[in-house]
Symmetry: C2
């Protein structure tokens, strides 16, 4: 009569989806690659020397010394929502406090929206190359992933998406990293933004817009996010992790007002929907008016690092390699244009040259195996000299391991038809 008499004592019976969880070989490798002697271009970390540490300490001090309830449970603060409404206006988005929902980072934003929208085994649309953290969010639902190719100059292949929807797919949502795409570094072209929203409306397929990187833009002009084109079908996810500090874990969703109360109930179940100490610190920081200047600093610094990375790629990478030139965000995507076993390349990079990156297959959301020789490189976490040195070392490892081959086709395949 016992639940699982065939099991030995203490053997855990996990939920069905959770039995398949395991750390990938890539994660193991990256854990090795996080050692202090490794020049890592792998993760999307901000530059710690640019954190506004003193200003945040002032903010924390003000919070604790002026508000006795700052350590208590209390509803998420309207004042912080007001500041976020102002911040969204700088991105060309009009919204109200009642449409803003505070989260524990963008990751929680995606998690809560997925929980509200996705049924087990439901369908969803994402790009073929996608943010692994998003794929982790949806995994417990064992969804049917409809993967859409991406052009690394103009973004998601909207024609392909339209075909998918026209042929009867009924996705719970379309996931879009509109600016500074992770991992591709591309921003969706203005024409495609409009078409994507039109198609989403026509098919009543809402869009989750992940804008973790949109405030970090280096181009002459910044295109407003999808949310500026539609306030009902687009659920916008924002975060202070990349523009202020990740360990604060403060992010937000902009959603239709009717959805916000449901988000609150789902968040209560997740970790209690309360105004956290970190939220109060962020508010106190924003109230000083320091954010615009800080954003300028980040854009200038990260823009310079991006330029340094592109210059180093031109200098040290194989002739057939090509890469994205990001207008926003913190990543460059590189297609090597040579034939090389990527796990071996990563191992050699870490062991022989003490440099790390993330191989392309880690981002692949499509069916079958991803065999192309691609990598994602981060330029926000290291200074320009380290970036040049890292790319130089990578170029050396590639030179040692790669067998040059007519890989033009890879680039074309990945670039899609859009």
């Amino acid at each position: 009569m016992s639940r699982n008499s065939a099991l030995s004592r203490g053997e855990v019976v996990y939920a069905e989806w959770a039995r398949r969880i395991k750390r990938s070989a890539l994660q193991e490798m990256l854990s090795i690659a996080s050692g202090p002697d490794i020049l890592s271009l792998a993760l999307g970390l901000p530059a710690p020397e640019l954190f506004p540490t003193a200003a945040l300490l002032d903010a924390a001090s003000r919070v604790l010394s002026t508000d006795r309830n700052s350590l208590q449970y209390s509803p998420p603060g309207r004042s912080l929502k007001t500041r976020i409404v102002e911040l969204m206006a700088t991105r060309g988005v009009e919204c109200s406090e009642n449409q803003v929902f505070l989260t524990c980072g963008a990751q929680q934003g995606m998690n809560l929206l997925t929980r509200l929208l996705l049924d087990p085994h439901g369908q969803l649309v994402t790009e073929e190359m996608s943010y692994p953290g998003f794929l982790q969010v949806v995994e417990p639902y064992q969804p049917e992933i409809l993967a859409v190719p991406t052009d690394i100059r103009t973004g998601m292949d909207i024609d392909f998406l339209e075909d998918v929807l026209d042929s009867g797919a009924r996705p719970a949502f379309i996931y879009s990293v509109t600016d500074g795409h992770n991992p591709l570094g591309v921003s969706l072209s203005p024409e495609k933004r409009k078409r994507l929203v039109d198609i989403a409306r026509y098919h009543n397929a809402p869009i989750i817009e992940d804008d973790a990187y949109g405030f970090l833009n280096y181009g002459p002009s910044l295109h407003p996010p999808l949310r500026s084109l539609d306030d009902e079908m687009v659920y916008y996810v924002g975060s202070f992790s990349k523009i202020l500090a990740p360990s604060l874990r403060v992010g937000w969703i902009v959603a239709p007002e009717a959805m916000v109360s449901r988000l609150s109930i789902v968040k209560e179940a997740s970790d209690i929907d309360t105004s956290t100490f970190a939220q109060r610190v962020v508010l106190a920081y924003l109230e000083t008016g320091a954010l615009p200047g800080h954003l300028e600093l980040l854009r200038r610094e990260y823009g310079g690092r991006r330029d340094a990375m592109i210059a180093a790629l031109e200098k040290y990478f194989p002739e057939d390699a090509r890469w994205s030139t990001p207008d926003s965000g913190v990543f460059v995507w590189v297609e090597l244009g040579v034939s090389v076993d990527m796990p071996s390349l990563l191992r050699a990079a870490v062991e022989d040259e003490k440099v790390a990156f993330i191989p392309g297959h880690a981002f692949y959301a499509g069916k079958g195996r991803f065999e192309k020789a691609c990598m994602r490189l981060n330029y926000s976490n290291r200074g320009v000299d380290a970036i040049e040195e890292g790319v130089k070392r990578l170029g050396r490892v590639i030179g040692n391991l790669a067998v040059s081959s007519g890989c033009e086709e890879f680039a074309c395949q990945l670039a899609g038809s859009g």
Copy 2:
């Protein structure tokens, strides 16, 4: 061909479970009852005047001025886990750092464990009167809830539980608030602790032990939690919310080491498994050695408030009323022993007497309707004078509305057979 052509534009298609989400009438009422003129005994809030605010500010200042990476993504800190191992030892629990997993409060602890263990429509065991935050956690899974009665002097009815398991139930887990039960205020007797763990082992049904209140004990002796009796079948959930400050959102799980890496993957998907700023502040606070003294203060203060509430109940409540006398935690459970419509009583209490409580039915996890005249009262958030005044006002409202009736049976029913 569009997903939901019958829907009007912008109408949201929620996941199936989420379509039924709505704010209850009780939640609406409590939202009214949170006004500044209401003497609320409703929520489980700590006393804000007892927060160690200055010490936490010192801690935050130390963190920001000595650790450049304190604002960065980084793995959850081993040092904080070491402090938690020491803290668990004061509860009679032996565990290692590798068994400790850091969470965003106890609520997230329950959420992550549920996610790992519960399949959609799976079975679980909880007490008939249960913490609504727990019921919220499991609701998306639409589980079959096996509700077990509770004796308000000795805790969960273990005979009843044994019958449930013997008759073939296969719960994913048994949920237990072993000390300072929310809402009943009871602590499980030592004999029942041992039997509960034995039965869980025999049936290979793990226990989620929610110990949010166990460190707040007022009795002469403190019984070790279930985790002290079994390190494989009991997953312990702890929190600094009640003993330090809720808005920090720092809690922990003690689980078998093999489960911890899975928890990490599930947490990454939920909100990124990173060492938060608040975790670092808690660590810096614990390093000063101030917690034991702070816990003494809380026990002395809250113990006095508990005594004040019991004395006021004796003075102002109907003769047939009976209540729990908690050894731990922050709640007293009252069975009024009179016949009264509880929603009307709450409305009259808030509107006429400006006092609030939570009616018993809000905690009911069993089948059918809960009709008994019961209430949960909190004594941690207000000083002794306010507590006496609040109970006095409640006694007046009950006197006005109640029809005395032979309600002895209610008490017996609720007390169960254990």
